[in-house]
């Protein structure tokens, strides 16, 4: 064959290859565009979106289970075609699920029902519903099939159930906000993480823990401290059991929040543990100098331990980490690493844009695909793990139209409005609740007017806002105030703000766990109610109207929406007069008082009410104060 002919053939071949590649690229682009089609226009209808939160493959890889947090379902899809096999109704607000080791049962935690749904994976029917602790958030069965372990977010414990009967055998005390867990590869240990920090001294560094459970004995064998970390989400362990990683929120709540640059409000980190890092914990940052990985949530380690993937619900990306490089960096550099925003350049190899509020992930059996549940897009991104690109996007069937509430919810969870995308509303209001932290905000002066972060459930019609009552309504609170002092960057347009406020006003209170099923009160609660509503003290002296519990904390939400001086002003406070906070689920929201100085409800009166300005309470006995607190917990 002549040289010229060979050259021409090569040229032709190259051309055909290029053309084929171009066609494939165009088709991929086309597919991506249609799959991710955005529906504009916002309806005021109340629509139920599936909101995929977690994904899981069956042991044989044939089925994909999708936990739909919004529609209270598990959707079962064909793992090859993603066609729906069955939608299985479960309890309210399901938050976690896992398969039994033999794959025959799927366990689902229903966080607002305090129940566990047991699904037979053969028939795809719910075969049992078992009661567990308060706000169950994740579940795992041990290898022997003896016990089920259920992490309960509100009761701060792990329930141990008989895996066959569902009978609760005991509770293991965990940290605050016990929510997620993973098992060591041999099944001998469970590692439990917590979304809220443990209670600590006022204005001290947040502390969380990883509770380690021996599954054979069903006992806590270790509590790994996580210093400086306020919220921990998914945790994963490599297949060889030598490396664990948990997704963390590392707040800067003790430093005045004067600006966001240089990780001013939060850092987003991973806690590494296990033999690969010397059996200690090592916290490594995920952020960069000018770009943040807001709210890391899901963690997945590839089967060969070459890569680690982290979803960031606020930044709407998946961060890809080269594990050998990460370990090399950790071993050759001196800790601490967390304050070095340039550290991630040593091990982060890609950041893959996915859908809104990405949460849980699952690998296909061959490890070539990683599925990511995009909760607020109602999609699953399929990432090609060789190219670190989204290969396709699976739509989870639901309403085609975006409602005002849904748009508001997306706005609440995104970090795109803050300076360099560092934070979103959900950073401090985790899962639309609170964070258990006190913050030093800039406008009142550095170190002044420290404020406890309040629960935002059921906040409709509880205006004004801020502890000093300075913001008359939510549009002011979430609009100009947020733009100036939190986002430090251009805020939403007015329409988006309206949607956000509408969403926030729609937030319902989670079920109160201190109320009896029929809403009748226990004897102690009844006695506490009498104290709450009393008009004279134990010595027969009338209690002034404004010093009665029931006056300020009146109405269904426990606030008369007025401000009072209850004697809690500190030397660092500019204001003595404080807005009366609502009492909804007050038992959950420690610490208390405007600055979070009271670690418990009891301390409000035993430590911070010496002059009886915060209600007449100094005439009460310890038991009577306990009764009052028992009643308050039912609010």
């Amino acid at each position: 064959m002549s040289h010229v002919l060979r050259s021409r053939l090569r040229a032709c071949l190259a051309t055909v290859l290029m053309a084929t590649a171009a066609v494939l690229f165009a088709v991929a682009l086309w597919n991506g565009r249609t799959a991710g089609a955005v529906v504009t226009g916002r309806t005021g209808d109340l629509l139920t979106y599936p909101s995929p939160l977690e994904v899981l493959f069956s042991p044989d890889g044939g089925r994909l289970y999708v936990l739909c947090n919004g529609s209270d379902e598990v959707r079962v899809l064909d793992a090859a075609t993603y066609a729906v096999i069955k939608n299985i109704e479960v309890g309210r607000v399901p938050r976690g699920f896992s398969l039994s080791p033999d794959g025959k049962r799927l366990f689902v935690t229903n966080s607002w029902d305090d129940t566990l749904s047991v699904i037979d994976t053969g028939t795809l029917d719910v075969t049992a519903t078992w009661h567990v602790g308060a706000e169950p958030s994740s579940v795992m069965e041990d290898r022997a099939g003896r016990h089920l372990f259920v992490a309960n977010r509100i009761s701060n414990d792990v329930a141990v159930l008989n895996a066959q009967t569902g009978a609760e055998e005991k509770r293991l005390v965990a940290g605050r906000g016990a929510s997620y867990m993973t098992s060591s590869p041999d099944g001998s240990r469970l590692y439990v993480t917590h979304v809220y920090p443990n209670l600590a001294e006022h204005r001290s560094v947040p502390e969380s823990e990883m509770t380690v459970i021996d599954t054979a004995r069903a006992v806590v064998v270790d509590r790994i401290p996580q210093h400086g970390i306020a919220g921990v989400f998914h945790v994963a362990i490599s297949a060889d059991g030598r490396l664990g990683a948990a997704a963390d929120l590392h707040p800067k709540n003790l430093v005045p929040l004067a600006h966001l640059e240089h990780g001013g409000a939060f850092e987003d980190t991973l806690t590494l543990f296990g033999a690969d890092v010397g059996n200690k914990t090592v916290e490594v940052p995920l952020d960069e100098l000018e770009r943040y990985v807001a709210r890391p949530f899901g963690v997945a380690i590839s089967p060969d331990k070459s890569r680690m993937y982290v979803t960031s619900s606020g930044s709407e990306i998946v961060t890809v980490i080269d594990v050998p490089r990460l370990l090399g960096y950790v071993r050759t550099h001196r800790a601490p690493f967390v304050q070095d925003l340039s550290a991630s350049a040593n091990y982060v190899v890609a950041r893959v844009a996915v859908g809104r509020d990405p949460r849980g992930m699952a690998f296909t059996h061959d490890g070539r695909r990683l599925l990511v549940a995009n909760r607020l897009s109602d999609t699953i991104s399929v990432i090609d793990t060789r190219t670190n690109r989204v290969a396709s996007t699976i739509e989870i069937a639901g309403p085609k139209q975006l409602s005002v509430l849904r748009y508001g919810e997306q706005t609440f969870y995104t970090a795109r409005y803050s300076f360099q995308g560092q934070i979103g509303c959900a950073n401090c209001h985790i899962d639309s609740t609170f964070d258990g932290l006190e913050w030093d905000l800039e406008p009142d002066g550095f170190g002044r007017d420290i404020v406890d972060n309040r629960l935002i459930e059921d906040l409709k019609d509880t205006d004004p806002y801020k502890w000093n009552g300075g913001n008359p309504n939510l549009p002011t609170e979430c609009g100009p105030r947020t733009e100036l002092y939190f986002w430090r960057s251009e805020n939403y347009d007015d329409l988006t703000l309206t949607d956000l406020v509408t969403y926030m006003r729609s937030l319902k209170p989670r079920p109160n766990r201190w109320k009896l099923p029929g809403y009748e009160l226990t004897a102690a609660q009844e006695r506490g109610k009498e104290i709450f509503e009393r008009k004279v003290d134990k010595f027969g002296a009338p209690i002034p109207l404004t010093n009665r519990c029931s006056y300020c904390h009146s109405g269904p939400k426990g606030t008369n929406q007025k401000s009072f001086d209850v004697g809690t002003k500190k030397a660092t406070d500019d204001y003595a007069v404080m807005d009366t906070p609502q009492l909804r689920n007050v038992a959950l929201t420690a610490p208390y008082l405007h600055d979070g100085s009271a670690a418990t409800l009891e301390e409000i009166w035993t430590v911070y009410n010496p002059a009886d300005k915060h209600g007449r309470t100094n005439d009460l006995t310890k038991d009577e104060l306990n009764d009052l607190i028992e009643y308050l917990r039912t609010r």
Binding site: V23, K252, P256, E442, G479, E483, E490
Partner: protein
């Protein structure tokens, strides 16, 4: 294969084959859009940082359309510094109607080439940039070079900001006895500008950042030492700049600059990024011949000339195309004449460990002649924190002193804090890669009132003295 797929395959093949057959678009067309350049017989690189004229023999703006250049505006003795509006329909520029006029800010509407004067100033106003919310920034000549200034651009805001960040009228953004010159407005709303390093005293060109209200001044990166200028942010968020003989970039993950493997050439500052990701650069092979505009695809070994004029330098290419509007900075400055600064741990620095334990910090400012004047001292706590009230809108710098008053460390240059600004420093020259440790600084546990260093006569009259240096 379906008919449609075949047709698509054939069409794509034809498109791909065209360049092989000599039907490639000309290089200028490859830029993907029209672009504007400043044409000048003489271009003095970095003259602006010396307060001198960049175009001593005049300049005029050329609009390059499909490889052909034509004047952007007529009726001007000189024009330069084009900046295209976010919607791609208008161009801000510096112009002189008569040769002896000062440079003034003008705007031309591309559709009909109508021109309006945006601002009248007594001295040169150059290098304008659009800001969101109907404002702009530019360099205004003073007796000590240029300063950064903000003003209205004459357009009503396209949307109603919930909290207008700037009052109407002029707003001075830089407060330094040195020439500073804007380079770009970043996507996050901060202004990238050039000045000498150390700021306020040095001459090595360096890049700095400041918010649109003049607060938050800081070095872009702290790997100082190499002269760098002409910074422009790309769509990726990277900022590309020149050292003159090479290009480099800042990326979000790295605390140091990263080399750009561009062909060896002498570059003249700012580049422009095309939609395809290629760059328009102003370059010449060696010193001597004029700069031409070349198209370079990152990674390619060579560049193609897309615009050249005999004997004339073509610099500062700007694409005529819509672009993403930067974010508006909501100014949270307080209505004060001073600023509060909190250092979390003054012992921390990229410069290494201190030789002793800091006991106090001395604030210095400059008097009218540029002499350094001590404004007093404040204690440094055991954890390295200090909290001070400093004069707003003045050059300031700190020196750490030991218990005997010996200077342990002195800031390299000067900076300013805007009146009403409250700011936190992680350390003393720790670099932007260093984030704060989450703890209550000891000084705030002792007091929440900053030490007042706003008036030398009030705080440290006896020790007030010129402390040397200008």
């Amino acid at each position: 294969m379906r008919v449609e797929a075949r047709a698509l395959l054939i069409a794509l093949s034809v498109v791909l084959l065209l360049p092989m057959c000599g039907f490639a678009p000309n290089p200028a067309q490859q830029a993907g859009a029209d672009f504007i350049v400043t044409a000048a017989p003489v271009y003095v690189s970095l003259a602006e940082l010396r307060g001198e004229e960049r175009f001593p023999k005049g300049a005029h703006l050329l609009l390059v359309h499909e490889g052909k250049a034509e004047p952007l505006v007529t009726g001007f003795a000189a024009s330069a510094d084009a900046q295209v509006s976010f919607d791609g329909t208008m161009v801000l520029f510096a112009g002189k109607q008569a040769e002896n006029d000062p440079w003034q800010i003008w705007e031309v509407t591309l559709k009909d080439r109508s021109v309006r004067k945006v601002l009248t100033t007594a001295t040169d106003a150059e290098r304008p940039f659009y800001l969101p919310s109907g404002r702009m920034i530019f360099a205004l000549r003073t007796t000590r070079g240029f300063k950064l200034q903000s003003d209205e651009d004459g357009h009503p805001p396209k949307f109603l900001p919930m909290n207008p960040s700037a009052k109407p009228g002029p707003l001075q953004l830089s407060y330094m006895r040195a020439s500073v010159f804007p380079a770009d407005v970043l996507a996050d709303g901060r202004i990238l500008f050039e000045a000498g390093y150390p700021l306020g005293s040095g001459t090595t060109p360096e890049m700095y950042l400041v918010y649109a209200d003049g607060s938050g001044i800081e070095s872009y990166r702290c790997d100082h030492g190499r002269a760098r200028w002409g910074g422009v942010q790309l769509a990726s968020g990277d900022t590309v700049f020149t050292h003159g003989a090479s290009l480099a970039r800042f990326t979000s993950p790295l605390a140091r600059e990263e080399r750009v493997a561009a062909p060896q050439a002498e570059y003249a500052g700012a580049i422009a990024e095309t939609d395809s990701g290629a760059w328009l650069v102003s370059a010449r092979a060696t010193a001597g011949p004029p700069y031409t505009i070349r198209l370079w695809k990152p990674g390619a070994a060579t560049m193609e000339t897309v615009a050249a004029e005999k004997g004339v330098n073509l610099v500062e290419p700007v694409l005529v195309a819509p672009r993403t509007r930067p974010k508006r900075h909501p100014s949270a400055l307080h209505p004060w004449s001073y600023a509060n600064l909190l250092a979390l741990d003054a012992r921390l620095s990229r410069d290494g460990a201190l030789r002793g334990t800091p006991a106090s910090v001395r604030l210095e400012t400059q008097d009218a002649e540029g002499h350094a004047v001590a404004m007093g001292t404040a204690p440094v706590e055991q954890d390295g924190s200090f909290f001070v009230k400093v004069p707003g809108d003045k050059p300031i710098r700190f020196a750490l002193l030991d218990a005997k008053g010996t200077v342990l460390r002195q800031e390299h240059g000067w900076f300013w804090a805007r009146s009403g600004e409250q700011r936190i420093c992680v350390g003393c020259h720790t670099g932007p890669e260093r984030s704060a440790e989450n703890r209550v600084p000891a000084v705030l546990l002792r007091t929440t009132t900053p030490v007042d260093l706003t008036s030398a006569s009030k705080t440290d009259n006896a020790r007030q003295a010129h402390v040397g240096g200008r």
